[in-house]
């Protein structure tokens, strides 16, 4: 079978089993778009901005575990995609981005729509390729998928000059089934000696703590994690990225940790004597002040990426390996080992933790005459029975969604954790909805974030994507406002949103349904009315309390035991635990 470069690319995607290709055409990719015309197998989704193509592919990847695939043109097509590529890179999301490039002969001549895509994306990709010969094309695509999806996943860019896809140049097509790269051999299995040491250390613990991250979700390690935690009966906390890997409704789960983590999770981190970090990378939003991070703990760290280990926090027992493989080996050891946890010490530890829990750090004013954002999220959980896929943008609404939705399954909480990209939520929701057309997909957003990719309402209409957009509209860039209240003496510099559009009319003009909710007493009925419209995109513009803050909060650079608490939680009973 002889194919042109454009046809080869499309055929490679088919052979790779790609369902959806998120893209936007332009000069340098016209040959590829011509090859996409009148074919079946790869469904192209035309977005309205290349940033959205990358976020949609990213959302698809996070929900399904399969790589997201993007096709954009050279120059501005590629630069617009960079934000989404960097977003995927920071959260280790498998993605293959094909960027068009000017013809090989014109590279370096400042040609129309030319940009050094390989150079621009280099710092925010796992790897990138420039295809200089049509004979390398199929193998390069195979390598791109291999690199993107193995080891610690990440985005890979394949830059394809226009002459490579010339319809007049055809070569025999062969898609390699496997690919070997002498310079890239990711480790899967952990070191058995280290695993044994880690298990011994865990069993000797008096105040153990399990801290899990996005690596559990990405590595599909949720099942082994559940076995592991239940076997030990130890408390577990999760980062923003790991939510759902362990069920939030389980008694052993202390909630999220870090800057907006629960009181009990952060206090337990501070006081624990053995910490096991599973697929988590000790991000600054999690650790707080490095010098006072888990000051009494010996630390075990499981991570597939050796460079994550001892990057910010020096650990005692490093284990490089894939999360489920390592946990499975640990579970075997726990089953066969005659040693069991120190029951007396663990019981005492739970007593301490439960005393922290009794402060009910997530309390808020439930009798307010204004709509409380926390209440909206709790109600979403009730209406969807906790089964929805929830994407979010970035800011206060993101934290409330993470804190109050209560995820019981992995891959259901989809947000930009590392890069913190506003505008992520709606396009990500499109990717999720395409992957799971019959599931409820909610985009929790704010009136600030949603305007960063609002144009995608048009894409949603074109492909009939009934995403439920829940905008917590407080007329502020809420998280900025909160920091200005706490740390800048209420100087609300440019955090107030004036001249907001009428979101209901805006949504209607895009052909969808808009519902504005202003009073707490209308909240449930209006949400239920909107969620009953299963085949329509509904935009809920919910007017929430402007002054509400995200609690608890650890100020940047402070330790885990220095939290700002909500004025509504139960005051501490132990005066020595008095809060700052």
């Amino acid at each position: 079978m002889e194919l042109s470069g454009g046809e080869i690319l499309v055929q490679c995607l088919k052979d790779e089993g790609v369902e959806y290709l998120f893209g936007y055409p332009g000069g340098a990719v016209l040959h590829i778009y011509d090859a996409l015309y009148n074919q079946e197998g790869v469904n192209h989704i035309l977005v309205r901005h290349e940033q959205a193509a990358t976020h949609a592919a990213d959302g698809y990847a996070r929900a399904t575990g399969k790589p997201g695939v993007v096709l954009v043109t050279s120059g501005p097509g590629a630069t617009n995609a960079v934000t989404g590529i960097a977003t995927a890179y920071m959260d280790s999301i498998p993605m293959v981005v094909i960027t068009g490039q000017v013809a090989t002969a014109n590279i370096g001549s400042d040609a129309f729509q030319e940009v050094d895509s390989v150079g621009i994306t280099r710092p925010c990709v796992k790897h990138n390729f420039l295809v200089k010969d049509i004979n390398d094309l199929a193998e390069t695509v195979k390598k791109a998928f291999y690199v993107a999806t193995t080891g610690r996943p990440g985005p890979v860019v394949v830059d394809v000059p226009k002459d490579i896809t010339d319809p007049n140049i055809k070569i025999p097509y062969h898609y390699p089934e496997t690919v070997q790269m002498r310079s890239y051999q990711p480790v899967l299995k952990g070191h058995s000696g280290q695993i044994k040491r880690a298990v011994d250390l865990l069993l000797s613990a008096k105040r153990p703590m399990i801290y899990t991250g996005g690596g559990v979700v990405l590595g599909k390690g949720s099942e082994e994690l559940r076995k592991f935690v239940r076997k030990l009966g130890y408390p577990i906390t999760s980062t923003l990225m790991g939510l759902g890997a362990y069920p939030a409704s389980d008694e052993l789960f202390l909630g999220m940790l870090g800057m907006h983590g629960t009181y009990e999770a952060n206090m337990a981190m501070h006081d624990c004597d053995v910490l096991i970090a599973v697929g988590a990378r000790f991000d600054d939003r999690v650790t707080g002040k490095i010098a006072e991070f888990c000051p009494h703990a010996q630390i075990v760290h499981i991570d597939i990426d050796p460079s994550s280990i001892s990057k910010t926090i020096t650990v005692d027992v490093p284990i490089v390996g894939n999360v489920p493989d390592v946990l499975q080996e640990m579970n075997h050891l726990l089953e066969s080992d005659k040693k069991t946890p120190n029951k007396k010490a663990i019981d005492d530890w739970w007593k301490t933790i439960n005393s922290w829990r009794s402060q009910q750090c997530m309390s808020y004013d439930r009798n307010s005459d204004k709509i409380k954002p926390q209440m909206v999220i709790e109600m979403l959980h009730e209406i969807t029975h906790g089964n929805a896929y929830v994407t979010s943008d970035v800011g206060q609404h993101q934290m409330w969604a993470a804190q109050y939705y209560g995820f019981d399954e992995p891959n259901r909480w989809i947000n930009s954790g590392g890069l913190g990209t506003m505008g992520f939520g709606l396009p990500a929701a499109m990717g999720v909805q395409l992957a799971y057309p019959d599931e409820v997909v909610i985009c929790v957003t704010g009136e600030g974030s949603i305007q960063m990719c609002i144009q995608e309402l048009s894409t949603c209409l074109q492909y009939g994507l009934p995403v439920k957009i829940v905008a917590l509209n407080n007329r502020y860039l809420g998280m900025v406002r909160q920091w200005q209240e706490f740390f800048y003496e209420n100087r609300y510099s440019h955090s107030y949103m004036e001249s907001l559009p009428d979101f209901v009319k805006l949504t209607e003009s895009y052909g969808h349904v808009g519902i504005r909710i202003e009073r707490p007493e209308d909240l449930r009925a209006e949400l239920e009315r909107g969620f009953a419209m299963k085949n329509r995109l509904v935009f809920f513009d919910i007017v929430t309390d402007q002054a509400e803050n995200v609690y608890p909060m650890i100020a940047q650079g402070k330790a885990h035991n220095e939290m700002h608490m909500s004025p509504h939680c139960v005051p501490p009973q132990d005066p020595e635990r008095e809060l700052s």
Partner: protein
Amino acid sequence: MRHIISILIENEAGALSRVAGLFSARGYNIESLTVAPTEDPSLSRMTIVTTGTDRIIEQITKQLNKLVDVVKLLDLTEGPHIEREMMLIKVKASTMAQREDVKRLSDIFRGHIIDVTSSTYTIELTGAVAKLDSFIETLAEHKIIETVRSGVSGIARGEKSLHL
């Protein structure tokens, strides 16, 4: 602490910029960096001289290993090794006294005068960094017109080697 890190890297366009970009993006120091193809033309050998605490050096080696194009890596300073740098130095030598003194100093340092004009000598000198530095100091009374240094190349002593 000063470390000499040797890497074998795929000899592909952009490989150098991946390494250089890594150092600038993560704020690591580069004292010198040399690169050239090996006897296997598909591989380049790179020698990087860098400084940092043990912790930073550990991160540097891990981050370099993580680059998809890097095939193998060795921190030469972890064992006995040899390092060499080459310098080309052009010195003013117009009077007889200058010419004699520069020639004498070059001989002492086992340099070679590789280009001569009526007013200049160009000397080639190879050695460890300290030797090249002290040669420059020794020439203090002369006018140095130009120096070119290659950056450090290194190799492990004995049986130890960095190869596929």
